[in-house]
């Protein structure tokens, strides 16, 4: 699974085209390549309970529709995929 800046916990979204790095306030894009400081943001696609089913769609716990790029940092059930 390829990560990019929008998957990083230091990514601050400004709009759908761009954001900035929370660490140094530099402008970056959501699809930019990650740097050495990359640290994964909890997202459904990184969760044990998420199962991918088709492009950009999957399920949570096998019974609820979900999508891989959902920010799951406020989801009480999130568990990092091993």
């Amino acid at each position: 699974m390829e990560n990019n800046c929008k998957d990083c916990k230091y990514y601050l979204p400004v709009d759908v085209f761009r954001g900035m790095c929370k660490r140094d306030k530099t402008n970056i894009g959501p699809d930019h390549e990650i740097c050495a400081k990359f640290d994964r943001l909890p997202k459904c696609k990184f969760c044990q309970k998420y199962k991918a089913e088709k492009e950009f769609l999957g399920s949570c716990l096998g019974n609820t529709i979900a999508y891989p790029d959902m920010n799951a940092s406020k989801c009480a059930g999130f568990e990092w995929v091993r």
């Binding site: 709009d15 759908v16 529709i65 790029d69 920010n71 940092s73």
Partner: protein, 892 residues
């Protein structure tokens, strides 16, 4: 063969002298402080962006609770959505939090309407597949148009020509939307509105764009004033305690429906508390990363403030400002809303500010900085709706109207020093939101009024000048039967762009003192029949029920031979009445679906007396509920057209009605606006056929025109207004209250003009109507502003929720101190005549022309449209052309 030169320029001369060659700039203005300037630069670069986070969690929780009591189910769904929103804080912010996880973030609400996405599914998927073919360079093209994402590119899909959505969120949006099929307010409302006798007529009215949109599922809330009393007085924990006490008092007793409301409000508030605490946590995280000591301290202060406000009432001015912003945003998150106005913020917050100034914990400089930050936050608000609503009605605006001036509870003048600073912030940090309205009263001090002039002169279009006494008279007439008296009428404010909205005085306790603060006390004051195109209705009248653009029959024959002006007038009234009748009934059903499926919780909790009554606003929990209206568009074109027919056909008998019908069908020998790509009359292009129609066209153009103090046409205006403002009372709202007239065009005069054929006043097919309701048609008011005022005040404005006048004044006219004095006297003259509202564009038209040609150079240029200020580059061409063509006064 070359087309002949259009002779229109001879027929329509702009009032005043020929302008000098060079473009006149607006009077020099000041700049915002460094913090607000940086935030505004970030705003200028940011695009409108949609996300699916809120609707996903809302829908997920909603589905889990099948069978639960609907209002509790909604409370649970809102709680889930708020507590899962990604917290976002931008560097330098002093006020934090927003609708969604983008600077200009918003999201669709499929529980209101999912049909738009379903209908566009194939197209959106196709764009998602193809968008990658566009290079990143094409993004620069998207940039023209300010923050609008007008086309798909890269990994971004354009929705409704405005909102960008990440490609990876499109499939989930579609899946979530599908879950609301046959369950949304739109679908349920549509299912049952078809039970209304004559329903098919409603569909024909919508197809012909005689009526513009349904408010029940598009924008069910808004055009109203928020009330911040409860969070300020009790804090969130305090409100939860009020709800718990309400449950204890009523559980198991008759009338126990109240417990479900209280329970739902508690759930929603718990969600808000998580939302606020999540932002506090984010601020702590950002602080942990921060190397700059000042910024680190600010992040820590933000965290501390949010942690405090998640439970408790504000301690100071900064807390109170943050608190009202949180609740303003929270209301915006519960529905698709435009025109949610914060109301008289300077008077609500004055007790906190005065105390902080006196104890030295804040100074004027810091206050100005905070107020500038407030302007940026309000400007970031976006409303996700379909293209027709966002572009055709709203022009991308959200109409957060902040009012200043007016009177206090005891009848003395209400302005204060904080309001002076609010105006100063409007000058230094000129942004579209919040727009300002000055509630003009003769008791207001001269210094305050002159500050208003200073602000108006910089060309932002605000403050709008609104007549306090006329508004109170309207409120007492229309809300008196619900118990409104003079004292409470003084608490009013503007909701939305120009909707007179009732308010109440609430007893805020601070340091042992009771401060009476004003706030809104009614739900949306502008839902109902929206909007009715008056020139299009006249067209249908002239053609005996047919829409001549489509050929579709809208109404059965009116049965009048139209042999006299009285018959024409009667036929027009018959159709108008018929349209209002069916649209009122269908609209009531839609709003009934809304209150059952998507009852308001945040706004209801805030509005007196919902907490006391244990009822939401949809169950008439508010103090005042006479809030449905009939909105019109194109008044001056209707009146001018009637005057033309009366003069040319019935009085002078120069032409027959058939002659005018034929001329209309031939568009007086001109190309249509769609063909020319320009929407103002002055730019239209004649065809070779023009010479066959030029005489009748000239007769239409030469007929008496509204705005010139001409009794012939002003009498027609008065007849129309007196009839319209009275006939609306015959119809009953969902809440069994009479409707009233509302007369603002917002942006509808563009699209409504676009589908209307030529009109008897000489206006050509597809061109934009006159704006507002007492504005003259561009170029036709030739006798100066005072003559326009005479015409506009030929009827009693207190009969209507509003009347709207837009004027364009050349900057040279109001230059300097002397110009300011003249300007104030001009406004005062109109107010003294009983004019309800006037607002100004202080701008050289040639600058607007230049901005139209080279938008990139004018990213920050603001203009006043019809009740709102907007960035020029974010306006559609129909409205740009209309603003350019407005009569430009070059002397007063």
């Amino acid at each position: 063969m070359k087309s002949p030169e259009p002779p229109l320029k001879e027929a329509i001369n702009y009032y005043g002298h020929k302008p000098v060659e060079s473009i006149e700039n607006r009077e020099a203005k000041r700049s915002p402080g460094a913090r607000a300037n940086k935030a505004r630069e970030l705003y200028f670069e940011a695009k409108s962006s949609a996300s699916v986070e809120f609707p996903y969690w809302y829908t997920r929780r909603w589905e889990e609770l099948e069978g639960e009591i609907p209002i509790v189910r909604r409370g649970e769904a809102m709680k889930a959505a708020f507590e899962h929103l990604t917290p976002v804080i931008y560097p330098g912010e002093l006020l934090v939090m927003g609708k969604a996880a983008y600077l200009r973030g918003s999201y669709p609400m499929p529980w209101l309407s999912e049909a738009f996405f379903m209908a566009a599914e194939d197209k959106l998927y196709k764009e998602a597949m193809e968008s990658g073919k566009l290079t990143a360079d094409s993004f620069t093209t998207v940039g023209k148009g300010g923050g609008n994402v007008t086309q798909s590119s890269g990994n971004v899909i354009s929705i409704a020509g405005k909102f960008g959505l990440r490609k990876e969120e499109l499939p989930i949006l579609m899946e979530v939307a599908k879950k609301w099929k046959d369950k949304s307010v739109d679908d349920i409302g549509h299912k049952y509105e078809q039970l209304v006798p004559g329903y098919k007529e409603k569909e024909a009215l919508m197809r012909s764009v005689i009526c513009m949109f349904d408010s029940g599922y598009t924008l069910p809330q808004g055009r109203e004033v928020v009330n911040f009393y409860y969070p300020l007085q009790y804090g969130i924990d305090g409100i939860i305690r009020i709800c718990e006490e309400g449950i204890n008092e009523t559980a198991g007793s008759p009338g126990m429906d109240r417990i479900y409301f209280y329970h739902a409000v508690i759930l929603m508030l718990k969600g808000l508390q998580s939302w606020i605490r999540n932002h506090a946590e984010e601020a702590r995280f950002l602080s942990s990363l921060e190397k700059d000591e000042k910024q680190k301290q600010e992040f820590d202060e933000i965290a501390g403030r949010l942690e405090w406000l998640s439970t408790s009432r504000p301690r100071n001015f900064h807390d109170a400002l943050q608190m009202i912003w949180i609740f303003h945003t929270a209301v915006l998150n519960e529905d698709a809303i435009s025109g949610l106005s914060p109301g008289r913020v300077g008077q609500v917050l004055y007790p906190y500010w005065k105390r902080d100034i006196e104890n030295g914990t804040i100074d004027r400089e810091k206050t100005l900085e905070l107020l500038e930050c407030m302007r940026i936050k309000f400007t970031e608000i976006d409303c996700f709706a379909s293209m027709g609503v966002v572009g055709g009605v709203l022009s991308g605006n959200t109409f957060n109207n902040l009012c200043i001036g007016g009177l206090k509870k005891d009848g003395t003048q209400a302005s204060n020093e904080l309001e002076m600073l609010i105006m100063e912030a409007g000058i230094t940090c000129d942004t579209p939101q919040p727009t300002l309205s000055l509630l003009y009263d003769e008791k207001l001090p001269e210094e305050f009024l002159m500050k208003g002039i200073e602000c108006t002169k910089i060309g932002t279009g605000y403050p709008a000048w609104v007549n306090n006494q006329v508004a109170m008279e309207f409120l007492l007439s229309n809300y008196g039967h619900e118990g409104m008296q003079m004292e409470e009428a003084r608490a009013w404010s503007i909701g939305g762009c120009l909707e007179t909205s009732p308010g109440s005085w609430m007893p805020l306790e601070l340091d042992g003192e009771t401060c009476w603060i004003p706030g809104g006390s009614a739900p949306a004051t502008s839902v109902g029949v929206h909007f009715l195109s008056l020139p299009k209705l006249l067209e249908v009248t002239l053609f005996d029920g047919l829409d001549m653009r489509s050929g579709e029959r809208i109404f059965p024959s009116h049965g009048y031979a139209l042999n006299s002006y009285d018959e024409l007038w009667s036929a027009f009234k018959t159709y108008f009445h018929r349209a209002v009748h069916v649209l009122t009934l269908t609209n009531n059903i839609q709003h009934d679906a809304w209150r059952k499926i998507s009852p308001s919780l945040v706004n209801s909790m805030l509005k007196p007396d919902c907490l006391k009554n244990g009822k939401d606003i949809g169950q008439m929990g508010s103090r005042y509920n006479t809030t449905f209206n009939v909105e019109s568009c194109g008044t001056a074109n209707l009146v001018n057209s009637l005057a033309s027919l009366r003069k040319n056909v019935y009085d002078d008998k120069k032409y027959s009605l058939a002659d005018f019908r034929n001329a209309i069908l031939a568009n007086f020998g001109f190309k249509t606006a769609q063909e020319t790509g320009s929407y103002s009359l002055i730019d239209q292009v004649a065809t070779e056929d023009y010479h066959n129609w030029k005489h009748i066209h000239k007769a239409g153009l030469d007929a008496p025109k509204f705005g010139n103090d001409d009794a012939y046409v002003d009498r027609i205006m008065a007849d129309w207004e007196n009839w319209f403002c009275t006939m609306t009372h015959e119809f009953r709202s969902l809440y069994d209250q009479p409707l009233y007239a509302c007369q603002i065009s917002v942006s509808t005069h563009g699209p409504m003009g676009a589908v209307t054929m030529a009109s008897p006043d000489g206006r050509l097919s597809g061109t934009t109507f006159s704006d507002g309701s007492v504005s003259a048609y561009p170029g036709t008011d030739r006798n100066g502003p005072y003559a326009l005022f005479e015409s506009a005040s030929c009827w009693d404005h207190s009969l209507s929720q509003n009347s709207q006048m837009n004027m364009k004044i050349h900057p040279s006219v109001v230059k300097g101190r002397e110009g300011s004095r003249k300007f104030l006297e001009l406004i005062r003259a109109y107010m003294r005549k009983g004019g309800f509202h006037v607002q100004f564009n202080i701008v050289d038209s040639r600058m607007l022309k230049e901005a139209q040609a080279e938008p990139d150079k004018f990213r920050s240029l603001l203009v006043r449209v019809a009740g709102f200020t907007q960035y020029w580059v974010e306006l559609g061409k129909q409205i740009q052309d209309e603003v350019i063509s407005r009569t430009e006064y070059e002397e007063l």
